[in-house]
């Protein structure tokens, strides 16, 4: 009944809220805290993983205790659902008291909302904990090469890694060529999530990086030379696809599905954007204890997970408080703990208090997680225009090939 009562209470509260107060000013943090007290924040976030759901529930307990903010996790199957909601509200003229207070967002979803002017902010760089963020080494101010401009606040760092089962695979293939060669020797043992799934597209991006002649070109708009630049990627896919799981006639729907396929013994290699995912999945009994991770020799793409606040959010102050809490050393440390979430931190260790830094230093990253040194420096995301076209082309060639 808890949900029922909450829903009823918020429905009642909505008739009163809205025009009652103006926009909270992120620069006046005391006022934000005061306004946030008693607010309910509906955080729309992907709800497909138990570990993430548990982490968000913990965040809810903590912000309730410290700031009197109630956090409700609206579990999405796809971030685009939340974006669609905000868009629909705007179309219907609901410019206040919207259903979405905060979205776990990045990439094209962020760009779509930012371009349409449907985000609240800028707020991220005024958050008190922003002072701790690693703005130099982590991709926290640019998302798909588009500047975030403070309209979204980072909460986890991600980087492409590959998960493999060390029991069935001795030497992991650490380049695009090696993956192709290995797949040819072991047909049916490799796949990736079907684009336009986020992770599937990321895999194509990663292979493009590997195969393209001049990676720097990917930082700019795709232009007339698109076909020429991407030709090696299509050649690689032409060679590899027939050697993939189900001969490339079917693909898993999402990242976690690949883990299930490894555990089922159907595949030996999976792509992931979370360096700690394998360790967390082992602890969660979703992967065999022999699972390990590796990165490619030439490096892998990194990005960050962000939270953004819609322009018509009902609890903007509360959402900022949650965003700020997510940047606290306490929350970041918990997120990085492998058995809990295993997400990379966006904080700069040099900016932390000594005891916080010590806590991060002594954190055991887990059996299947690479050390920051092994992970190497993350490559920046290519410009969004490349992926829109690669995605479309992949779909035409392989997504509807049957």
């Amino acid at each position: 009944m808890k949900h029922f009562l909450t829903a009823a209470a918020t429905a009642a509260a909505f008739s009163l809220a809205g025009a009652a107060h103006g926009e909270p000013d992120p620069a006046d943090w005391e006022a934000v805290l005061k306004e946030a007290q008693g607010e309910t924040v509906f955080w729309h976030a992907w709800g497909g993983a138990t570990t993430t759901n548990d982490f968000i529930a913990w965040v809810g307990e903590r912000v309730m205790n410290d700031y009197g903010v109630t956090l409700e996790h609206v579990k999405l199957t796809d971030t685009a659902d939340a974006v669609a909601r905000v868009v629909a509200e705007e179309a219907a003229g609901t410019d206040e008291g919207g259903a979405v207070d905060m979205i776990w967002i990045n990439g094209e979803n962020f760009i779509a909302l930012k371009d349409a002017g449907l985000l609240f902010g800028p707020f991220a760089e005024q958050l008190p904990n922003w002072a701790l963020v690693d703005t130099e080494g982590k991709p926290v101010t640019v998302d798909f090469t588009v500047p975030t401009d403070g309209f979204e606040s980072p909460w986890a760092a991600a980087q492409v890694v590959f998960i493999y089962d060390s029991e069935t695979m001795d030497t992991p293939p650490t380049s695009a060529e090696a993956i192709a060669a290995w797949a040819a020797e072991n047909p049916g043992r490799f796949t990736f999530p079907q684009p336009p799934d986020f992770l599937g597209t990321t895999f194509l991006k990663q292979m493009l990086y590997e195969l393209v002649e001049d990676p720097a070109r990917l930082q700019e708009d795709a232009g007339d030379d698109y076909a020429e630049v991407t030709a090696p990627l299509w050649a690689w896919l032409e060679e590899t696809t027939p050697n993939m799981w189900r001969s490339g006639r079917a693909y898993p729907a999402s990242g976690p599905r690949q883990l299930q396929l490894i555990n089922d013994g159907e595949i030996d290699l999976a792509v992931s954007l979370s360096p700690g995912e394998a360790t967390a999945a082992i602890a969660n009994q979703q992967l065999p204890e022999s699972a390990r991770t590796f990165v490619l020799d030439k490096g892998t793409i990194g990005n960050a997970s962000f939270v953004a606040i819609p322009y018509n959010a009902n609890a903007k102050a509360g959402a900022m408080v949650v965003a700020n809490f997510l940047l606290s050393p306490e929350a970041q440390l918990r997120a990085q703990t492998p058995e809990i979430l295993g997400y990379g931190t966006v904080l700069d260790m040099d900016k932390l208090a000594p005891e916080d830094r010590a806590a991060f230093d002594t954190l055991e990253l887990g059996i299947a997680t690479l050390s920051p040194a092994e992970l190497g420096t993350a490559l920046p995301e290519p410009h969004a225009s490349w992926m829109t076209r690669v995605e479309q082309d992949w779909l035409e060639r392989y997504g509807v090939a049957n």
Partner: protein
């Protein structure tokens, strides 16, 4: 005076449906021709249709929709008929009948997930036989789930729709005096199946027609089963609509709306084709009567065998799937080719159980309220129709069945916009309203046949003994119809429990039901969590059916003829 009160109900019901439906339709039609763009405005344009038809794979997607819908509906209907024809009145039939309610109440998504785990190359069937029988240390690289031909999807839909059609048929059978018809046919030396097809089927099908159309429409446009079992290269049309509807690129709303209209046209076309098929089959039936062939002996055994095999396989698939969900919800490590988890534990239940219980209460509360309100309206409509001596009318009927024939994905976003305009964009009551749009027609479907088939000579007798219309309604008609009423109520609750898109869209994601939770989890890969939630979901849908079966037995323990069993 009460007569006038009843006369208001059909209008109220139609108003309740027509608002959301009309808004949904407008919200679908306008974007398809260039209007109602986010941000307002727009001019007439065929661009959405050009985008739609230029989309790679769209023709195949449309064909998949038609093929999987028609084949699964035919299969389910045929299986249902062969089983009733060949086995009604036998002990085997009673056994299968008892399995019916639990079978029916397994929600689509849960059944699909269960089936997928059974038949996959690394699934339970392979695990149970490997490596000792098959020699497989690793699963074979076979394309079973998500095959481009859509056969796994057809199998899943068939298994799920067969119980629904069975229930509808069983509710109608007592009204058409099937036992007496069969007796006559068999006395004349007809085989069970042939005799049944010639004497019972024509009367029965008249009452089954609308449920069949609803099954056909659902099978062609569903999202949840298609996501789990259907192909993805390309997927059926409904998945394209879902993808475009929720794409951050707003320009895709137009093509999505156009695709929704295409889906609608396909559904209407398929129902038209089905109607022609009905007429053809009826002709064949007439010819068959005229030939006088008895169809006894071997043909009869073969037909009975097929009926039993199809039904038993459907039951096995769904129960096997549920059993696998139970196993996963208690599983520790479990790798291929182990037949069972290497350890069991309560960890998943500890972790997800309390939240699942919480959500179960809300889900049931919502479902019961929706079914209760819908029941009042449905009974009111039917009684008004009885008293006025005429039915809702063609237009009224069309409105009533539109939510079932119109693909959900086609008009729900339009409904969402309406709710937002009304300032009721989220929370419990909009969800209730949205659920009722779907619960009401299904309950009408479930109840109209039995209600209309009620023998009015009882009423004549009662009137002769001095009873008024109210007396007849409350003291005769409703009590005699208790079993169908409870069944309809359970159907209504199950429909509410299973709603995904209406819940998501009308609540702004703020009302979490067991279905939204299970489907959110199904996009991830945690089979243990999925196990816990799908079991809670199945239980929530199952409880009302159990009550619908048990209550008449308790109430009518001294009146066997009223039990409908």
């Amino acid at each position: 005076m009460p007569d006038r009160g009843f006369a208001l109900v059909p209008g109220l019901t139609i108003a309740l449906l027509i608002g959301p439906i009309a808004a949904g339709l407008i919200g679908t039609l306008l974007p398809a021709v260039g209007y109602l763009r986010p941000g307002g405005g727009g001019t007439f344009s065929l661009a959405p249709w050009q985008v739609l038809f230029a989309e790679p794979g769209i023709a195949r997607a449309a064909w998949l929709s038609v093929k999987t819908g028609l084949l699964s509906t035919m299969g389910a209907l045929l299986g249902c008929f062969l089983l009733i024809a060949g086995w009604q009145g036998t002990r085997v039939f009673s056994a299968l009948e008892r399995l019916l309610s639990p079978l029916l109440s397994v929600p689509h998504a849960a059944a699909a997930l269960g089936l997928a785990f059974l038949i996959a190359p690394s699934g339970w069937l392979a695990r149970l036989t490997s490596p000792w029988l098959t020699g497989w240390e690793r699963p074979l690289d076979l394309l079973i789930i998500g095959d481009p031909g859509g056969w796994a999807l057809i199998a899943g839909l068939l298994a799920k729709e067969l119980p629904f059609l069975m229930l509808m048929a069983l509710a109608a059978l007592p009204q058409i005096n099937s036992a007496a018809r069969m007796e006559v046919a068999q006395t004349m030396g007809y085989g069970r199946t042939r005799g049944w097809a010639l004497t019972v089927l024509p009367a029965l099908y008249g009452q089954l027609r609308l449920p069949v159309y609803a099954v056909l429409a659902y099978a062609m446009s569903n999202v949840d089963v298609a996501i789990v079992l259907g192909p993805s290269t390309p997927p059926p049309l409904s998945i394209f609509i879902l993808r475009w509807m929720t794409d951050p690129d707003l320009a895709l709303r137009g093509p999505a709306a156009a695709a929704a209209l295409l889906q609608l046209a396909l559904v209407v076309g398929a129902i038209g084709a089905w109607r022609i098929l009905e007429i053809a089959v009826a002709r064949i039936g007439h010819v068959a009567v005229a030939t006088g062939a008895r169809g006894a002996g071997l043909p009869d055994y073969a037909a009975r065998g097929v009926g039993l095999a199809v039904s038993a396989l459907a039951a096995l698939a769904i129960f096997g799937g549920i059993a696998s969900q139970i196993a996963w919800s208690f599983a520790g490590r479990w790798r291929f080719p182990e037949a069972l988890p290497s350890s069991f534990g309560l960890r998943s239940w500890d972790r997800h159980g309390p939240a699942a219980l919480d959500t179960t209460l809300l889900t049931l509360c919502l479902a019961a309220l929706a079914a209760l309100l819908a029941l009042i309206l449905v009974l009111g409509c039917l009684e008004a129709e009885h008293r006025r001596g005429r039915s809702l009318g063609q237009l009224g009927l069309l409105v009533l069945y539109l939510p079932l024939i119109l693909p959900q994905i086609a008009f729900l976003p339009g409904l969402q916009i309406l709710l937002l305009q009304l300032g009721a964009g989220m929370g419990f009551w909009p969800v209730l309203l949205a659920h009722m749009v779907f619960v009401l027609p299904y309950m009408f479907l479930a109840l109209a046949g039995p209600f209309r088939a009620w023998d009015t000579r009882y009423a004549t007798l009662a009137h002769a003994m001095g009873a008024g219309r109210e007396g007849v309604l409350w003291r005769l008609r409703l009590p005699m119809l208790l079993a169908p009423i409870l069944t309809a109520f359970a159907v209504g609750m199950a429909v509410s429990v299973g709603q995904y898109l209406p819940t998501l869209l009308a609540s702004g994601g703020r009302i979490t039901t067991l279905t939204t939770e299970a489907i959110a989890l199904s996009s991830g890969g945690d089979r243990r969590a999925i196990g816990v939630w799908t079991l809670a979901l199945t239980a929530a849908a199952w409880l009302p059916f159990a009550a619908a079966l048990l209550l008449p037995r308790l109430v009518f323990r001294n009146r066997t003829g009223l039990r409908h069993d």
